[in-house]
Every structure is written in C-alpha cells, then in structure tokens.
Symmetry: C2
Subunit: 365 residues, 2 copies
C-alpha cells in the first residue's frame, strides 16, 4: 500500500496523520470490522459506533489521565464555536472572564466572549507581535473572574505554555489546546475545561474534543440553544444528534496509535527532538533564519520564522515544494514561513526539512 | 475491491453511501489526486481543497438549479444547530416565525426557535401522531411572520411534502430538507433558505449544507457569535475557520455520482420506484403491515410501519438482520419498523427487503 507517493507534510492544520492510521482507515473503509458497512454508513446509535466512540473516549482518558469527574465530549464547530460557547455556558450573567492574549487564537477567543458579556485582558502580547508568553509578575488577575482563558499553543505565532499560570484561588482555568493537544503529558486537574479542534494532532477536521469538569456544568444557564449547551451534550454523551462519526473514528485510531507508541511521555520526547532539530538550524544560522518566538516561549509544534526578505521567503517556499516539503508558507495574517511539526510528522520529514534549510542557506546565503 | 462483504443498509442516517463513491474515497485515501496527502491532511486553504469545495458547490448548483442570488455553504452542527441559527439570524427582534409541525424534526425546530423569541404554530399534526401533512385550508399563516419553517421530509414519521405550501405574499419559506435533499428536483426559488444535514442523501455526518437567498443575509443582526452568523459564513465562503473537509469531499463525490446517474430527475424516478416496491408490499398485505403515514403524505425516503405486536416486530428485526437487512428498527421514540430508502440504497437491496417482507408474512402471518 505504501507505494503511493507521500510528501513531507508541514501543514498547520489540517495536517499530517500517521500513515498506519490512514492505512487502517483505508483497509476498512468499505466494511468496518467485517460489519458490511463503512463507518460513514453506520447509525450513530449502532453497537458498532458505540464501540468506536466509547473506545476513543476511554483511550483518550488513559492517554491524558483524565479523572472521572471530567466529561469528555466530541462536538463540532471548531474551537471558534467553543470560544463563544465557553462564555455562554460558564460565565454567569454579570460576571467577567479573564483572558491571557498571547496570539491570534486567544485574541479570537476574547473577541467572541466580548460580544456576549464582560471580559478582562490580563495580558496582551500584541505590541510585541505575540512573540512571548507573559511572566508570572505581569498577570493581574481578577480574583472574581468566572474563569481564565489561555491558548496553550498559538499555532500562528508559535508560543506555547510550558506550565500553567498560577491563578487566584477558586478561579477555574479554561484552555484552548487545539494545536498541541496530546503532544505531551498535561496535568488535567489544573484545568476546569480543555478543548481542542482535532485537525492538528488528534484527527481530521470536523470534531472538537471538550473535556469539562463536572462542577462547571452546574453553571450552564437554562434555555441555551440545545446544540450550544455543554450540559445537554455531556448528559447525552455527545449523541444528542448525529455526531461527526468519521472524524471521531479517525481520532480513535490516532489515540490507539499514540498508545502503541508508548503514550504521551514517549510522544513528547519525539516531538521535543523534532523541534530541536529545526530550532538548532535556526540558532546556528547566524541570523539567516530568524525565529519569531523568544527562545523561552518557543512552541514544539509550530515554528514560524523569517528570512531577510519576502523574495527569499517566496524562493524558500518554491524550492521546498520542489523537494516535496509541503505547507511551509506562514499564515496569511503574518507572512514568513512556518514549520508545523505535529505528532504525525515523521522524524525523517523533519530531518529532510532541516537538511533543506541548511542547503538553502548555503545556496542563498 | 468489491469482494468485501456489504449488507443491505436501510439505516435512517448516517446511511448507505454509493459503493463507487466509497471505492473512490478508498483508492485515493493516502494521496488525493497524486498530491501525496490524504484529503484529511490538506490545508483547507490549499489549491487542492479549494478545488474540492468549489467543485462540490458548482455540482450542487447544477444538480439543484440553484440561482446565482443564493449562497451555498458547508457548515457544521447538524440541522439541530441550524434550528437555532435560522431564528437568531433571520427573525428580527420582536417578530414572530411560523412553523408547520409535521413530525419530530419540525417539532424540534420550533422548540429551538421558541427559546430565542416568538413562534406561531400554523399546523400541528401531533394529535394524529404526525401521520399526515396539512391540507391548504388548515394553514392559518401570520401574514407578518418573519418566515415559515417546514421540514420537507420527516425522517421519523415518514411524511413528505409533495409541493410547497402557498404562503402569504412576501413571507419567506425556510426548509429543513435533511432527509430528502437531492432526492428529487426542487424549485429552489420557492425557498428563501434550504438546509440539510448531509448524513442521509448527500454524504457522511458532520456537514450541513445551507442554501440562503442573498436578501435574507441583510437581516442578520450585528454581533452574533461568528460561527453562528450566516452572513460571515457566506462572505468567507464556508472558510472562516477549518471546515469539515472530509465530509465536504465525500459530498462532492456523491454529487458527481448523481450527475453521472443523470441528475435529480433520474434519481427521483429510481427513488419513486424503490418506495413503490415497499408500499406495494404494505398495501397488498391485507393489513399485516400497517404504514404510519396516510397514503397522500407518504415519504419516498423513510417508510415507518408496524406489525400487529411488538413481539412480531422484534422477530422481524431479528430475522431481517440474519438476512443482512440492516437498520429496520423504528426510531426509539416511536417504535415499530422503518425502512429508509435513500438515494444510495440500491434497487437490489429494496428488492431483497420486499421479498423478505412477503416471506416473513407467509411464515408469520
């Protein structure tokens, strides 16, 4: 099967998936587990699909160490919908919510919350082009905040939290973990809510995984639109209506792959090794490659960097494509270049990129 | 490839997909069109995906004859989310919306709209167990209604509109067409909005297709949560954030299949023929099989029917499964039996069901 041509995929999301996962999905596409139907053709209330979603949840709970007092849900709308939903569900009327704004995605989150009520900016890195995380001393939390929102890893700006900010007692921490979800061990008990669009590390686009501590669900106001009500979604175990079955199935295959690989500790080691390969090239380039984030805030998932001119950056994109290195153009909002090194990007792809970067500098230095 | 075992799939949704569509998806799962990536691994802003979504839209416009003054969007959340969104977006503050309640899904739609503002029940078939559509004389429309909502085909109760209700001048018609979408030619100009969860006739779960006339978008109030704002979704051509790429791709393959088959006129003929095969068995059974809907309101997609006892119905489900006839148990809310004969259910499967029903009656009559 692997005689099919495959490129080195550095897309920021949707992004690379493990080849063995794709091959399994391909093999059973016409008939899942011998049942005579594709996963796309099964009732979401069938025994087969119940097995798929329950196993996916159990595997994720095991991988992340999610305690029993957290619900795990497979929902829709991307993190962007959940930016609005977290405020609708968990910020009581009249209360304010704190936001640590470290890049484009936490900025998008506060924008949605501000439409619906009061927000407070605890930190805003925009004046520094979102190139760093805040120091502890910079954070002036509202001790009465309904919650504090962070984006664990900023996909566009490439800054990633290394540990959780220390909050005032009793204030719950909410986290958009879309772009570094299941890339590393996380102490889930430090969060009251974690959510992640799957299309970076967990699976294909079309599903959001939400992990919510039970006590938060008591905050949900009456009469929300049903599909925006986390309490209903939790009670119905993600099956209030038809969920995105195929995307959930693919996430389940990715979680199995992660378990076989040794879990999140093992994955984290590999991801760190991959990131180091690229940061080393940047740091040893004598300023030829300029990383966007300050070293202490660097993401192991997304590495945005610049060259001396846009012409040179365009050439880099063009030449890298020729070498089957795909997805290295920076986000349209910031330009430059970006390498996304998600879980499923193989070591050999990262090696190929590192080699390409060294060669490119030699040729165009 | 087709040596894989396949069953006769009568699921109500997610449901059967055309075998040739599944085979194509399988063949290019590791590398779409030779690009070296799965559709699940591509950027939603890549040329490849742009080709997929634009072609899917163009093919749907051609199949349905959608005029240029309608936007076509590929969204998320199932019809259930759009029950709330249509009211949020298109019912101005203080205005009321009319609902024709013909089954479980229009009942669910009005429930969501009632949470957010004023609704008016134009017809309610519940006292008659939703076994028929209203006659024209029964409909007392509010001439000032923001819109009239109908469900074109009630998946659970098996009643289906044969023509659009005649509304007061200037009142727009909104339609949840989830379960008979692209099963028949429709005069789109009679509607201001059509939406459909894909997972019956158009593709896998995880995508909702929304067709909205341009003038409706002028009604959208400011400051809606972005993901719930049809105007933004239309302006961004379904790419405000990452869409459910795989589900859209699969819909595109289904639309190509429909075109090759001869379009919606050709599909409709086949669907009518399939439905007639089962209704004929019911009508000739001397009351052994009892269809839920009155003959004039019968759906060509979903045929709910009963036997004399629940024991006999259980036996029917059990025996039919043994014969690889899958998905014939009625919806848990109403019991009984149901055959869903969506576009992708082959004639030979319907024939197998018809034969089984005749045999079952002979054995257990």
């Amino acid at each position: 099967m692997t005689s099919v041509k495959r490129v080195h995929n550095f897309n920021a999301g949707p992004s690379a998936m493990p080849l063995s996962v794709l091959e399994k999905a391909q093999a059973e596409l016409l008939s899942f587990n011998g049942c005579g139907m594709s996963v796309m053709e099964m009732s979401h209330r069938s025994k087969e699909f119940e097995g798929i979603i329950k196993t996916a949840e159990a595997d994720l709970r095991e991988l992340m160490g999610i305690p029993a007092n957290y619900k795990v849900m497979f929902l829709q709308g991307g993190a962007s919908l959940h930016f609005a939903m977290e405020a609708m569900n968990f910020r009581p009327a009249g209360a304010s919510a704190d936001y640590i704004v470290t890049g484009a995605w936490s900025k998008a989150a506060i924008k949605e919350a501000a439409k619906l009520g009061t927000t407070n900016v605890v930190f805003n890195g925009e004046a520094e082009k979102f190139n760093r995380l805040p120091a502890a001393g910079e954070l002036n939390f509202d001790p009465k905040a309904a919650y504090v929102h962070i984006c664990h890893n900023e996909t566009i700006h490439g800054v990633e939290f290394k540990s959780e900010p220390v909050l005032p007692a009793g204030v719950p921490l909410f986290c958009d973990m879309s772009s570094d979800f299941v890339s590393q061990p996380i102490d889930v008990t430090k969060y009251a809510m974690i959510y992640a669009g799957a299309q970076k590390n967990a699976g294909p686009a079309g599903v959001v995984i939400a992990i919510v501590r039970d006590d938060m669900l008591e905050r949900v106001p009456a009469n929300l639109p049903t599909m925006l009500d986390y309490k209903v979604m939790a009670e119905k175990e993600s099956l209030y209506n038809t969920p995105p079955c195929w995307s959930i199935y693919m996430c389940g295959l990715v979680f199995q792959w992660l378990k076989e690989l040794g879990g999140l500790e093992a994955m984290y080691k590999i991801d760190q090794q991959k990131a180091k390969m690229i940061y080393d090239v940047i740091d040893k380039s004598g300023g030829y490659y300029r990383g966007h984030a300050v070293p202490e805030s660097r993401s192991i998932m997304n590495i945005p960097f610049r060259l001396a001119s846009e012409e040179l950056e365009d050439l880099f994109v063009k030449e890298s494509k020729k070498a089957d290195l795909i997805g290295l153009k920076g986000h349209r909002s910031v330009g430059g270049l970006r390498a996304s090194l998600y879980n499923a990007v193989p070591l050999e792809s990262v090696k190929a990129l590192a080699d390409f970067m060294v060669e490119f500098q030699k040729k165009n230095g």
